[in-house]
Symmetry: C2
Subunit: 319 residues, 2 copies
């Protein structure tokens, strides 16, 4: 038997057939090119159809499909909420994919990408063999996939892992309203936002960001040239990343915290500094028991997680 | 059949026989009076013996014993670490109680008090029917009992719930080394500590704490008289309690957070203010889904939790 994993990202869609032990038998990748609403679902259905045809004609029949979406899945209604895709506010993904499946006896499992990242990492990546592990996804926003005693934590409302909202520096400021305190400073958008805030507060600054575009990538480059804005922004983020790690470790005592998402990437070289910051704050024994890692495969962890969702048929995720 | 629950606190020992549905059939309570090492174990054994005798002569035979300790239980070695009892660094509690049990076929379960508090509250208290609930114990120190999907979270090292170490206000200060940032300001000892810190920083203050003893109880009384030290200390703690709630809710999306421990008590009247602080910081939907409660029964929640430990025989806790 085989399974299909589908990983919908903000800009691309990757799908593959997997053997039960996790070998990729066939893979498809396509860019979304700003598609929205139905168009995204049609793209997904067309990839699914094409992979099902392969499955139908092979000895390894497909028995389940797992889908990772960059948002929240409401299993009660079979709908998804994906803020970065227009028209996917409450989108009936399950019923549309069920139609594609047709009369075949194939289970469909859907979960948020945070859950799939940690499933991928515990199955094939840096958390293999771990029952207690956390994936900290730092991209445009910040979220976490949390596994405890072998089960992915989703929370009764499906919102668990919303760590972008961590309160890490009092007093409260109204600027945290749209995204939370941690995400305000330490997401990809946060780095840019805080740099612009500092630029407007430091009129004497005459460095490269008076002319160069402020974005996360340029900030990392400028950090190496000791640009004073970049140093303030990145050092501030390292402090926040460390505090967030410390809090997750003190609360949950995991074996590993894995950093992924668009920012890690570039920020992976700061893992030692992040640990040094975290170890100051966190419960000392728990901090000794945890290791920090970069994602095993930023491009594929979500896809593998989607396949594992199909293979594992985790009741906790399918409620 | 029946079970025995034993709740060891820092100053007293309570034991009871329970029917399977949670009715107390017989209860014993005794103060520790500064007992240490063996003496505490002997006291526990004598209560256990006395309750076993009742069980032996009744139709409701005892089938299991659950024990709550104010520290950490190492199930591998059957030893407990209880910082507030002299000589209980690595104390062989399980083997001593097994001897008391003798030839009877009775299971013994031991767990930390945080785990027992949340078990008691989900069984008989303010979290009845909840699968996802947190007990925040604010006494001399701060810790949390966390239940996710019906299982108590302990972490691979048994340290989960060490929320006194939450990082809530940067930059880091060395004074957090012994206990963590959250506990430094917002535990019972923390309230006193911060008040003394403010007293030394505010030489112009001429209020009641120039003569009256600084302790949590007096600070709560003085708060009502708008004493400026008390107001700063308590308002500061409310901010921290709110941030901690927000962080637990954003990470875990629980149905309820229950406040207990020596400080709540007095601080229960601030639950609304704590919620108002938390709702500013936390993930907005998750904050709408959670309610804050005071412990159902501060005196007995741990005892009921110990009994539930015996009844439920939770593999997760007995590893």
């Amino acid at each position: 038997m085989s399974v299909i994993g589908i990983d919908l990202g903000g800009t691309k869609l990757i799908s593959a057939i997997f053997s039960e032990d996790g070998e990729i038998l066939d893979v498809r990748k396509v860019l979304l090119h700003g598609k929205k609403g139905n168009e995204v679902s049609e793209l997904m259905q067309s990839q699914l159809k094409s992979l099902l045809t392969i499955g139908d004609s092979s000895a390894d029949q497909v028995r389940a499909v797992g889908i990772s979406v960059p948002g929240i899945y409401n299993a009660g209604s079979g709908t998804v909420w994906v803020p970065n895709i227009d028209g996917w506010d409450n989108y009936p993904l399950l019923s549309e994919l069920s139609e594609t499946i047709g009369g075949r006896k194939i289970d469909i499992e859907v979960a948020g990408d945070r859950a799939c990242y940690i499933l991928g990492e515990t199955w094939k990546g840096k958390a293999r063999g771990c029952q207690n592990a956390i994936f900290l996804a730092v991209g445009t926003g910040i979220g976490a996939g949390i596994m405890i005693d072998g089960e992915v934590v989703k929370g009764p409302g499906g919102i668990a892992g919303a760590v972008g909202w961590l309160a890490l520096n009092k007093p409260y400021e109204d600027k945290y309203i749209p995204c939370g305190c941690f995400e305000y400073y330490a997401s990809g958008d946060g780095l840019t936002r805080y740099a612009n805030e500092l630029l407007s507060l430091q009129p004497d600054y005459s460095g490269m960001f008076r002319t160069r575009e402020v974005n996360a990538y340029n900030l990392f480059c400028a950090y190496d040239d000791s640009d004073e804005i970049a140093v303030q922004v990145i050092d501030n983020a390292i402090e926040y990343w460390g505090m967030a790690v410390a809090n997750l470790v003190s609360i949950l005592n995991p074996e590993v915290v894995i950093f992924g998402g668009g920012v890690f990437g570039e920020a992976v070289r700061f893992l030692d500094k992040i640990y040094q910051e975290a170890v100051k704050w966190g419960q000392p024994i728990a901090m000794k028991q945890v290791r920090l890692e970069a994602s095993w495969n930023a491009e594929m962890a979500g896809l593998y997680g989607a396949a594992k969702l199909a293979i594992g048929y985790d009741d906790n995720l399918s409620e």
